[in-house]
């Protein structure tokens, strides 16, 4: 019986271009929007240089940097104190600190450290500029030592200003996953159930020998599968295209995705109990899922800086826990020792919502 339900559900999905577009177009669009919108090629970025050496090589490096076209000199700094000032108000995006006796050290074959300090509040720009600067420095080094040894003589030392742990860049892939998964899972399930209510087929199925849990499973399983495919897709794009690290266990990662998707699906079923039309379902899921996920999960705005009340709301948003777990796994390589808390919360939420949705979706009413 369940098989028939699932086959039917897949037919609906495959035959509806709109569903397909939401299912596979939206994740890609979101990733591209969030991932690349701000990281297109940057030219003539204002930078400042603090040159402690003022020798031939330091000038040569500077001229190489400014002739690249990516940077222009906004300021010359005299001392370390001025670094912070120059970043203020976004006057410069990057500061390069060249150590004393640069030419001499290089000639002696010593390691020298060039500091690359980046304004990481605008994280995408910051990273792009940092990458430009590093490759110019490497290029410079190869010119002066064409037979370069495998190790680097000039070591660019990168320091991030304002956002030292690069919080938002690593929040963004988990954030988009959280958003896309909740939208697909909650919205599509609630909309398809509402559609069956509109058609009257829900009533016919309701009074068939099928039990409530069959009906719910028949709706949820296809979307569970599709959501997991989506989750994998987003994470792979995150890793391969957007440079998200993957230090943890893939299985644990997928398990977190599964828990989170279950929460979202069960929520979708719950929405559909209330919503009698597809529009209503769409509206409720957008309002109750998408907005809180974007605004309150810490995906875009840091939770720490929110007022106390909003922080409390953030604690009941499933995405908060999902993002926390995903970041731990991917960045810190965390196992269950690190993420047992968010995992437990998600598992609890999933169980609760599934039980609630089975209870609520009645095949008969008073």
């Amino acid at each position: 019986m369940l098989k028939g339900l699932i086959i039917k559900e897949f037919r609906h999905i495959l035959r509806d271009p709109k569903t397909l577009l939401i299912l596979f177009g939206m994740p890609l669009l979101q990733l591209l929007l969030f991932g690349f919108a701000l990281s297109t090629e940057i030219k003539n970025a204002p930078i400042a240089i603090l040159d402690h050496a003022k020798d031939a090589q330091s000038y040569a490096l500077q001229s190489k940097i400014f002739s690249s076209g990516y940077f222009r000199q906004q300021e010359k700094l005299k001392n370390e104190k001025q670094i912070a000032q120059s970043f203020e108000g976004g006057k410069v995006k990057l500061v390069l600190v060249i150590p004393p006796k640069f030419a001499e050290q290089l000639a002696n074959g010593n390691h020298v450290e060039i500091q690359v300090i980046v304004d990481a509040s605008d994280i995408n720009t910051g990273i792009t500029l940092q990458n430009y600067a590093q490759s110019i420095i490497q290029n410079f080094q190869q010119q002066i030592h064409p037979t370069s040894k495998p190790f680097m003589q000039i070591v660019p030392k990168v320091r991030m200003m304002f956002n030292p742990e690069l919080k938002s860049v690593y929040a963004f892939v988990p954030g988009v996953s959280a958003l896309v998964l909740i939208l697909i899972s909650a919205m599509l399930t609630s909309v398809t159930i509402a559609r069956e209510k509109e058609l009257g087929t829900m009533e016919v199925i309701s009074i068939s020998p099928l039990r409530t849990q069959h009906i719910i499973l028949g709706k949820v399983l296809p979307y569970l599968l599709l959501s997991m495919i989506n989750a994998a897709f987003i994470i792979l794009v995150g890793i391969w295209v957007l440079g998200m690290p993957m230090n943890g266990n893939v299985l644990i990662l997928l398990l977190e995705c599964l828990l989170y998707v279950l929460v979202a699906l069960a929520f979708g079923v719950l929405i559909s109990v209330k919503a009698n039309t597809q529009q209503e379902a769409m509206f409720i899921s957008l309002l109750s899922m998408m907005l809180p996920t974007i605004i309150l999960s810490g995906f875009i705005f840091p939770v720490e800086s929110m007022p106390w009340g909003l922080q409390q709301i953030s604690k009941i948003i499933p995405a908060s826990y999902f993002i926390e777990a995903i970041k731990s796994i991917m960045i810190k390589g965390g196992g269950f020792d690190l993420i047992w808390k968010p995992t437990l919360v998600l598992a609890f939420m999933a169980t609760l919502l599934i039980i609630l949705s089975i209870k609520q979706l009645k095949t008969r009413t008073n």
């Binding site: 035959r15 087929t201 009533e203 016919v204 009074i207 020998p209």
Partner: protein, 302 residues
Amino acid sequence: MSAIAVNGISKNFGEIQAVKPMSFSVKEGELFGLIGPDGAGKTTLIKILVTVLKPDSGFATIDHHDVVKDYHYIRNIIGYMPGKFALYQDLSIEENMKFFADVFGTKLEDNLELMGDIYKQIEPFKKRRAGQLSGGMKQKLALCCALIHRPKILILDEPTTGVDAVSRKEFWNMLQHIRTQGISILVSTPYMDEAAKCDRIALMQDGSIIALDTPQAIRDSFTYPIFGIRGANNYHLIEKMKSFPHLRSIYPSGEFAHLVMNQEITLQEIEDFAAKSGEKLIESKLIKADIEDCFIEMMQHG
């Protein structure tokens, strides 16, 4: 033996009494019609019987099982066709049928003989999606889906609403055929002219049954003399005839006006009165009340 027995069933929605306490039964093998306008309570009553809605009071049995307690049994033995044709528009005829067969744990092939002619009419289009079918075809497909598990009792909510006259006729023929296969049928309709196709009918109005009998017996129970009259201008004729002595009621009915009298009267008296009022009568005849006349009589004076 009753296929369906209703005992004092009622249902309120807030302040609205959708179904006032009512009782009736449908005999085994009977084609029983619930006939009444929108808002009469037909759909609510049917939803209670098919176990999707719990009644506020009373009890009802289907195949001797309680609709509240034994709903699971009932769901296995009834075929139900809700008001709108509940079909998946994006699935083909064949896919819809296979799906419903699967839901009821049966196979399409096992019950083709019951659907017989009905299925044959839609079979040539079996690859076509339900959304692209005409109203009549959708109706047939929905009926096939409701019959797919060979139910003991078939319950249909306004199956002929929104369907053209030809399809309506065909549909009633199909119901007659299904009944000969030993399936009891409860069907609702707002069309009074469909009453004649039923073995017995319940006329419903404002949540109550106002008459319950065979269509013939209901018509026979209309005891007032009733005439069909037709003039050059029926509107003027009706206005003038309103002052006719001993008049019970007069109203348009198609190309005629129906004139109901409180006492016996001759055609001559009618013609004389019309002539005196300056209206030309083209035709006047004593007629037999139809179901609509009975319904109107009960609404006005019942």
